[in-house]
């Protein structure tokens, strides 16, 4: 879809429970790593984009700290998983149109030690969309997604074992990933013994938050040290379905909670690019919760409505399966990098640099962001 914009490099910090460092320090480590990976000087960055939910730093603080002399683009998205890929898609558009030449997208959080998205604050102001949800206990993203999961279970007969299958498959991948925070093999029995949190979600239906930072540098084709490692954008779309809610917490009016944003993006994602779901070798589905994967397998056309649970139970999404999903363990088992770690793994696989877990067929990867009513999807391609 873009003739000029390419992914030039990626960088990351390790996941930790208490980094003991500032969010800016984490962001700089990831950004400098991405520039090293691309073989460019960090001071030549001229654009920066990030996304946050009141838990990180302003975008320009990174270029400020690096001393970049010429700032041509910056943007700060107020959003979570549904805006992570938007940041990357915008960076590609900015480069494609020549508004900036080398844009870094970063996400940096002390997500375990300082501000947990899963909710640990003492108070909630029941305003806006929350005036209808917080007074009855419908708080936190997990409880929202659990409501969607239940609806899917009641309509299609999806079971908690199907949800557990997603967690088990993620762990099977993570076992061979040295970056993963959770590598101990996991059985369906282990899953069923984990404590119930937000029925039908057990503890292992949730990803775990960490302190971490990730960065991706997007620039013009042929400008990295090794152009054969540059990754292309094949297709990319952003959106949602009708009545997606008015704020981060408003999913009341969504027309059908058994469906996710993915149903409404599929045609635009595949059609103009002449793609079919069978053209996708690898899937990086935003997996803050297990159900998010099931909903997207159906929405993006890898399973018919109601059949995603059986697909996962068949082993198709795990190692050796024909629909490999989140080959590093995803947010569920590698760790919660707010989507960026899924993107970084996609790039690694497409470059054929994933080491022990490299898959032989790795030319097209679908990466998604979002779990509920709105989101983004990008198909990445290995360098031609």
């Amino acid at each position: 879809m873009f003739s000029r914009a390419r992914i030039l490099g990626t960088g990351r910090t390790p996941f930790s429970k208490a980094s003991g460092r500032s969010v800016l320090s984490l962001a700089l480590e990831a950004t400098e790593g991405a520039c090293r990976d691309a073989g460019i000087d960090a001071r030549d960055l001229d654009g920066v984009i990030t996304y946050a939910i009141d838990d990180s730093i302003y975008s320009t603080s990174v270029l400020n700290a690096l001393g970049c002399p010429d700032i041509r683009w910056f943007a700060d998205f107020n959003g979570g998983g549904n805006q992570f890929l938007t940041s990357l898609l915008q960076a590609a558009m900015v480069v494609e149109h020549g508004l900036a030449e080398r844009v870094v997208v970063f996400r940096a959080i002390n997500g375990r030690s300082e501000s947990r998205l899963g909710g640990s604050s003492k108070s909630i102001a029941a305003r806006g969309g929350m005036q209808y949800t917080a007074p009855v206990g419908w708080t936190t993203y997990g409880r929202f997604d659990a409501m969607m999961a239940r609806r899917h279970m009641e309509i299609y007969g999806t079971t908690t074992d199907h949800l557990g299958g997603v967690a088990v498959a993620a762990r099977e991948w993570a076992v061979s990933n040295p970056n993963a925070t959770m590598r101990k093999p996991l059985s369906l029995e282990d899953y069923n013994q984990s404590p119930m949190i937000s029925d039908p979600f057990r503890l292992l239906d949730y990803c775990q938050e960490f302190d971490c930072a990730f960065a991706v540098v997007i620039g013009a084709a042929g400008t990295s040290a090794t152009p054969s490692r540059e990754i292309e954008f094949v297709s990319g779309v952003l959106g949602g379905g009708p009545r997606p809610g008015g704020d981060h917490w408003g999913y009341i009016e969504w027309s059908e909670h058994a469906k996710t944003f993915s149903h409404f993006l599929k045609q635009r994602l595949y059609g103009p690019a002449g793609l079919r779901s069978s053209d996708i070798d690898l899937l990086y589905l935003y997996d803050c919760f297990t159900f998010s994967v099931l909903g997207q397998l159906e929405g993006f056309g890898f399973a018919k409505p109601g059949e995603s649970g059986a697909l996962v139970a068949s082993g198709a999404t795990g190692p050796g399966g024909h629909v490999p999903v989140n080959t590093h363990g995803g947010l569920l088992s590698e760790g919660y990098g707010h989507g960026m770690n899924n993107f970084v793994e996609a790039v690694l696989q497409l470059r054929k640099e994933a080491g022990d877990r490299q898959l032989p067929r790795a030319d097209r990867a679908l990466v998604t962001g979002g779990a509920t009513t709105t989101g983004c999807a990008i198909v990445l391609g290995a360098a031609a």
């Binding site: 899963g118 909710g119 640990s120 003492k122 108070s123 909630i124 102001a125 029941a126 305003r127 806006g128 969309g129 005036q131 209808y132 949800t133 917080a134 007074p135 009855v136 206990g137 419908w138 708080t139 936190t140 409880r143 659990a146 409501m147 969607m148 239940r150 609806r151 009641e154 404590p195 119930m196 949190i197 937000s198 029925d199 039908p200 979600f201 009708p242 009545r243 008015g246 408003g250 009341i252 009016e253 909670h257």
Partner: protein
């Protein structure tokens, strides 16, 4: 939260705004009042200052019967916040109002999720027993 130290449930009170004031004013009197389209007759919730999102015509506030059924629901088996610890396990019901299928109301149900089932009939009411202000409660029909 320390184990064994159970506090009285005290869920946050809803903070009304200009758009939602008619809903909460009626709620304080124990009555359900929602916006309904003057053209297509579909119900709209949460309250909006805009037009009907389905057909673009105007909306008017109407009082409505409280009978409803369960559209979806979750159980809260582990408390995250202090104000809810004393009620765990409890459930959150998304209740669909009879006659207005587009209106789905989040309600509190003070029992475990295992007591509820899909499409279960019941009614919604405004209760004040679990915190300041009023909040929507779901009451399953006795023979539900």
């Amino acid at each position: 939260m320390t184990a064994g130290e159970v506090t009285r449930p005290n869920f946050p009170a809803p903070v009304a705004d200009v758009d939602s004031e008619p809903f909460w004013a009626a709620a304080a009197e124990g009555r359900l009042r929602v916006q309904v389209c003057v053209g297509c007759e579909r119900g709209v919730f949460p309250p909006t200052p805009g037009r009907c999102p389905f057909c673009g015509l105007g909306l008017e506030w109407r009082y409505h019967e409280s009978s409803a059924s369960i559209y979806s629901w979750i159980g809260v088996d582990r408390a995250i916040f202090e104000w809810e610890a004393g009620l765990v396990p409890f459930s959150v019901v998304l209740a669909r109002i009879d006659g207005l299928p587009d209106v789905k109301l989040p309600c509190l149900y003070p029992g475990p999720a295992t007591e509820l089932k899909a499409h279960q009939p019941g009614s919604v009411r405004f209760g004040s027993e679990y915190g300041d202000g009023v909040r929507l409660m779901f009451d399953p029909a006795v023979d539900g």
